[in-house]
Symmetry: C2
Subunit: 177 residues, 2 copies
């Protein structure tokens, strides 16, 4: 297995750092990898009392599109992923979750980023306080029945990897799909 | 909706560039986003004649782990995603695919990267020629029955987002899971 010889930071921005790592392969050849280090994130699959999934519409600058998405956000330094899930869910939807169940932790793009996304199922929802960051654009929440979301996923209407895993895995585990 | 005011490159490495974009929100406030631009990738879900999925074991430097993975690779400039799928599949497994069916195109981490991953189902497999890049470490292929892979996914044994979507969506669409 390859051996890490050296690493150093080559870029630091507001959202992530880039670390350049030099490895030596088993055959003695050296090679480098640039790794994006954005920290971890939490993603929430919120299920209401009528078996609807709660979605938000959010502008995504990386692809210049408004997307139907699940609530999600960055885990702050020193914060537990589950606490980030509770916090981001309330900030983005104005709803409070009574419980958060860990579903899975995912690597979105393991070739060049070390980000890990922790997925939680939020239940027992009640009224909370919406509080968006200054640079977030999120419209009102949208409730869609779980079965309808599953059919949408099967028709490939969602194009966000982590959201698809959250939805398809939830349906596989809990709806015996 | 926010308006893009300006963008410029702040980092260029062997695997990706970083572009800094400045936006103006509806309320007049300016904010910036760093976007990783790694180009697109193709991911292959290979199904053999006995309904096994074909896996590879690969070292992933971003997380310093050897992972069970599906064959995947970067779409070269001027290349179609489906051609990258055929090429990478043969290079990494030593097998040739007789057909490639487009399943879905995914954004792995839309908050900070514009990468799009195109997922294909490979069928009608025959012997080809393995050819790894100098910096790739991939062991022999591993064949696991589709149903067993689905159970593994339900037990959260796979932690790569795009692979999970490929597997769960395939099972949802084709095995009526």
């Amino acid at each position: 297995m390859s051996k890490l010889l050296e690493e150093h930071e080559v870029y630091e921005g507001p959202r992530f750092k880039v670390i350049k790592k030099t490895y030596e392969a088993d055959n003695g050849e050296k090679y480098i990898r640039d790794i994006v280090c954005p920290g971890d994130a939490s993603l929430v699959l919120p299920i209401d009392e009528n078996n609807n999934i709660i979605w938000i519409k959010q502008l995504r600058e990386a692809v210049d599109k408004v997307q139907l998405e699940l609530p999600a956000g960055i885990v702050e330094p020193g914060e537990e992923p589950i606490d980030a899930a509770y916090r981001e869910f309330e900030e983005e939807t104005g709803l409070k979750a009574g419980s958060m169940e860990h579903l899975i932790s995912l690597y979105p793009s393991i070739g060049y980023t070390n980000e890990c996304v922790h997925v939680f199922i939020a239940r027992d929802l009640s009224q909370g306080v919406k509080h968006l960051d200054a640079d977030e654009e999120i419209s009102d929440i949208i409730r869609i029945p779980v079965e309808e979301c599953y059919e949408k996923a099967k028709r490939c209407e969602f194009n966000h990897s982590n959201m698809n895993v959250a939805l398809l895995l939830y349906c596989a585990k809990y709806l015996n799909k």
